[in-house]
Symmetry: C2
Subunit: 239 residues, 2 copies
DNA sequence: CCCCTTTATAGTCGCAATGACTATAAGCCT
DNA sequence: AGGCTTATAGTCATTGCGACTATAAAGGGG
């Protein structure tokens, strides 16, 4: 970066790509848009767009998130920069460097088609088939990152509405990790971690359907979990 | 990213910035270059440079790493993408988006001045004063990331030469975290983690200086630590 | 040459965290 | 009413880990 001038560099297009994740029932879903143009016309892709001259990648990502989901207020949503994808051939048309983000939503709204008139919808993570460009890789990286951060941060509450039950919180872990957790142990662990969740004071209870009504909790003030909530170790792991 | 054309976007300059970290004795050091030109002439900055048209950010970072350190073979060094810094005003001259990397070196070579004829040297992390641009932030983020990854990955061996003693490995943790660790407990934990380190078969021993010679180990095949090696919790942490 | 310092390694003890499990409570459904 | 479902309370044994003691193997200074 010493002594460069305006003409010493090659200009790049800079975009953001978003892996917008949410839980629908017991399945992880991702927001995808259908491409209308070549390349990859007819393929599904992650939503995204260009970073404009006066905004940062974070600002651009939040703007795109609002546009694609149709949500009015996205200020409270968790948005996390994943990494930047810059392989020279990742877009066949031109040199595009993309800053990827993961966004976590509690209650998924029905998406409306973006300004580009492309179709947008939620697809289950497992059946999000081959995506355009390197978006399969980005989506997998998003999943890995979120799964890892569940272990040692309070990220799971970002998937939950403002007030939630411990069962819903456990469902987040089980869905993202793809493993079942013991309910009493999960409960003990969460409640023993200071600042993870705090009970809603009024004896508020929510009855969603069957079974005994559960107590409601809010996200606490802590951001990290000490000690972490480790996922059960995989069986076929190298010894 | 639907239906853009060549002229629908604003071109950006894309650079890489490197936080090259190493251990000298018992202190964490970072490789810095002195800027010769405005802005921030005379200030220290992280090494870096432009991404060229035919290379990815990772390739550019490894190329810059070789140039700045003078090392011939940087293929075995750990290079990790941190995040991308894209605030519109982070460079007063023009719009520059920078992909930041952390690089970990075992034995620090004496740096030679880069092609820009700027001065380059190792500085202790703690006395790496105010840096140019947003490089203070980048350096702090690199330190945070490395400290966190020591907990749940085998990253510490990236600071060590091919063969090392457990005392040297412990020194990595103590230096990066800034805390003292109990030696027998550290040893027990490391040896109990399958794949973290493996003993050098020949009864090889290294006598660096005083004390009983220590057994030598190599980095194992594992990449993650299960369960993690947690750093001692800070005292004044919110309850 | 002996002792002292330094570092490595072995092992002990007790508490805290956790996995596996049982039991009870409180709602809905038929 | 009885059974199903989910929430919550608690038990028990094992593991992990922090704190600590002890022994071994080197070098250095009188």
């Amino acid at each position: 970066m010493q002594g460069y001038n305006k003409y010493a560099y090659e200009p790049f297009a800079v975009t953001v790509d978003l892996a917008v994740l949410t839980l629908r029932g017991a399945a992880l879903h991702v927001l995808l848009v259908e491409r209308g143009q070549e390349p990859y016309a007819g393929h599904w892709a992650l939503p995204g767009g260009f970073v404009e001259p006066d905004e940062s990648a974070e600002t651009a990502a939040r703007r795109e998130l609002a546009e694609e989901t149709g949500l009015v207020d996205v200020s409270g949503l968790h948005l996390e920069q994943l990494r930047t994808y810059s392989e020279p051939d990742r877009d066949p048309r031109m040199r595009v460097v993309s800053v990827a983000f993961a966004a976590l939503l509690p209650d998924p709204p029905e998406p409306h088609a973006g300004s580009d008139a492309a179709q947008a919808r939620w697809l289950p993570y497992d059946s999000a088939g081959p995506l355009a460009f390197d978006h399969d890789r980005i989506l997998a990286d998003a999943h890995d990152r979120v799964g890892a951060k569940l272990e040692y941060t309070c990220l799971a509450t970002a998937f939950c509405p403002p007030e939630f039950t411990l069962g819903e919180l456990q469902q987040v872990y089980e869905t993202v990790w793809g493993t079942a957790l013991d309910r009493p142990n999960f409960r003990r662990k969460v409640l023993a971690t200071p600042g993870f969740v705090e009970p809603v004071p009024g004896a508020a209870r929510l009855t969603g359907g069957r079974g005994k009504p559960a107590a409601l909790y809010r996200a606490g003030t802590a951001t990290t979990l000490h000690p972490p909530l480790l996922r059960p170790p995989r069986e076929g792991r190298p010894v």
